[in-house]
Every structure is written in C-alpha cells, then in structure tokens.
Amino acid sequence: MNGAWLQYTTLRIASLLVPSDQRAEWIEEWRSELWYIPQCRATIFCMGAFPDAFWLRRKHCVPVKRIKIRLESPLSCLALLATLAALSIFFAFHMLAPRRTPGSPLKAPDLAGVCIGALTLSCLLLPAAVWVWRPPASRYSVSWSSTLRRGIFLVLKIALLQSIVLCGSIVQILLGPLGTFTGIAGAAAAVLALRWVIADQQRRCPMCLRLLTNPIIIGTPSRTFLEWYGTESTCPHGHGLLHTSEISSSYSRPQWLSLGDSWSALFAKGAARHS
C-alpha cells in the first residue's frame, strides 16, 4: 500500500509538468499502465513519467520570437551605434559624478591612460580606415558624392565605436581594479568591434550603403590558381554586384559591377522587403 502511495505521488508530481489541458488524460494513461506493472518494478516505471511530462511541456511551449536587429540600412546601423554610445556615456558620467571627491578610485593617470589608449587605437586604425574607405574597383567610376557618403559613414561608425570603447573602459575602471583578464577581455572586445566595423563597411553597397545580400560562392578552391574563386553579393536595390575574392591580396580589390536601370524591375520586390 505504501508503495502504491509513493507511485501515485510520483505520478502526481510529474503531472505538474504536463500542460493543464492534457494533464487529466496523461495521468489516466500512466495510472492505467501502472496497473499492469509488477509491484517490484512499479517505482522505476513511474520515474519514466518525468521525461514524458517534460517532453509534453517542451512541445507545448510556444517558441519565443527572437529579436532580430536589422542593420541593413546605414541609418539603422548608425542609430544602433549612437544608442549604445549614448548609453555608455550616460553610465560613465553617472558613475563618475558622485566620485569627484579626493578619495576617488579613478585617478588622473588612469583616465589619461584610457584616453591615450583610445587615441593610439585611432592612429592604428587610420591605415585600415583609408583602405576600407576606397571604393571597390569598378569599370565605371563610383560618383564623388557616393565616395564622400561612404567616408562619412565610416568616420561616424568609428567615432561612435571609439566613444563606446572609451566610456566602457572608464566604467570598467570604476567598477574595480583592472585585472589581467579583464584588461585582455576589454582589449579583445574593442578589437573585435573594430573588426566588425571594417567587415560591415566591406559588405555594403558603395552606392546606397545598404548591406549586400544573397552571397553566392563562385568557383572551386581547387581552381584557385587558374580561375577566380570568391563570393558574389547583390545590392538589394539592384545597384550592382560585388565580387570578393576568397583569398584577399594586397594588389587586388573587390570588384564592383554596376547594374543599369534595366535591372531595377528585377529587384523591386526585394527592395520593398528590405526597406
């Protein structure tokens, strides 16, 4: 009798995992099956109710919609970076304000060190920025205004990122003394963020600055020495195609193939979806 009580209690506890609309039938099924199980194996049998109930619970759960940050348009990309920069500046000043006392843990050399670090990073970035600013090689030259717009976009991105890195470093110092691990982690995060800025710039259409879509790999690695091998991406607004070589070299640049107005009808649906 005691055993039966234990088994029914086990089933009752497991049933709490089952969605309420299926609970009555679920417990009835397990109880009816339990009737046929020899007493010596009944408790082990009832333990199997937990995986079963858990599976029903998982199946019943509605998948949570993932928040997708859309960075296709240059304005949304800048808006995101500006929001992050504003938040980091707010936190840095908020934490800095009550500590303007003689016993403040943030010493002048610390702040100067952070600023010098950020400045050095900017100087190191300069050659990469100039390299990325150059428009891709094209048979038809990209207009002067497009090149300028591309440059302004890149400068704004780097400036916003620098402020995030700088304020993030200040917050990190204010939170506690910089250990070796936190220092390395902070530097690595800054380098990764800069790498993203450069990669993002190279993945954008030189005309409208929107992210290129539909990357297609052309060629095979075995023909690397004989033929071109790389990725072709398309501007969602139909401005052209960008051919990026899989093995980048110092003497070759991505090739931009401008598409004429006759192609615009083909891209109209895609442009509407991306805008």
């Binding site: 009816s32 046929y36 995986p51 599976w55």
Partner: protein, 105 residues
C-alpha cells in the same frame, strides 16, 4: 520511399514491436527492453509525426475484465512505409523483435 523520415534504431524497434502486435506502452517496453522514460515520449513523438495512431480501449471491455482501460497504438500508413524503409536500413530488426517474442512465449 525517398520522403519517408529516417528513424533511429530505437524508434524503428518500437515500430516493429507495434506492428508485431505489442500495442500497449508497457508491452512495447517489455519487448524492446527500453525504459518507460524512453518509450512513452517516443510514442508521443511518433504519434505527432503521424507514424502511429493511439486509441483508448472501450470502457465496457475493460470493465468486463475488471481492469482499467488502456491506450493502444497501431501503425498508420506512413508508419508502415517508414518501417519498411527502416527494415532495409536495419536488416536484423525483424529478427530482434521476433526473438524477444519467442522468449516471451
């Protein structure tokens, strides 16, 4: 046959057991030697994938035999096709379940 889903060995064994006439959850456990925590969720999964169908026994039949009614399972058309494909993938499947049946007898 190309569109038949690929079954794991465990699921294939359970389908084979149901086809062999072991239509209750507990008897599937007995024949396959799998624990209840594997068999019951797998039965639900296969029912969701429409490989098997479940049905409650009639109350009158169970009452006449003075026992609670049970839920029994049977293969659907898709389940039969899938089992056929699984038998080609696991040639010893039929013998495995049949051998346990002989032992039971």
């Amino acid at each position: 046959m190309a569109d038949a889903p690929t079954l794991s060995h465990t699921s294939a064994m359970m389908l084979q057991a149901i086809e062999a006439g072991h239509v209750y959850g507990y008897t599937v456990m007995e024949v396959t030697g799998l624990p209840s925590g594997t068999v019951y969720p797998a039965l639900r999964r296969m029912e969701r994938d429409q490989l098997i169908r479940s049905q409650w026994e009639r109350q009158s039949v169970a009452h006449a035999e003075q026992r609670p009614p049970r839920k029994y399972y049977k293969l659907s058309r898709a389940g039969e096709k899938t089992l056929e494909a699984a038998r080609k993938r696991y040639p010893l499947l039929a013998k495995l379940v049949a051998a346990v049946e002989v032992d039971d007898a």
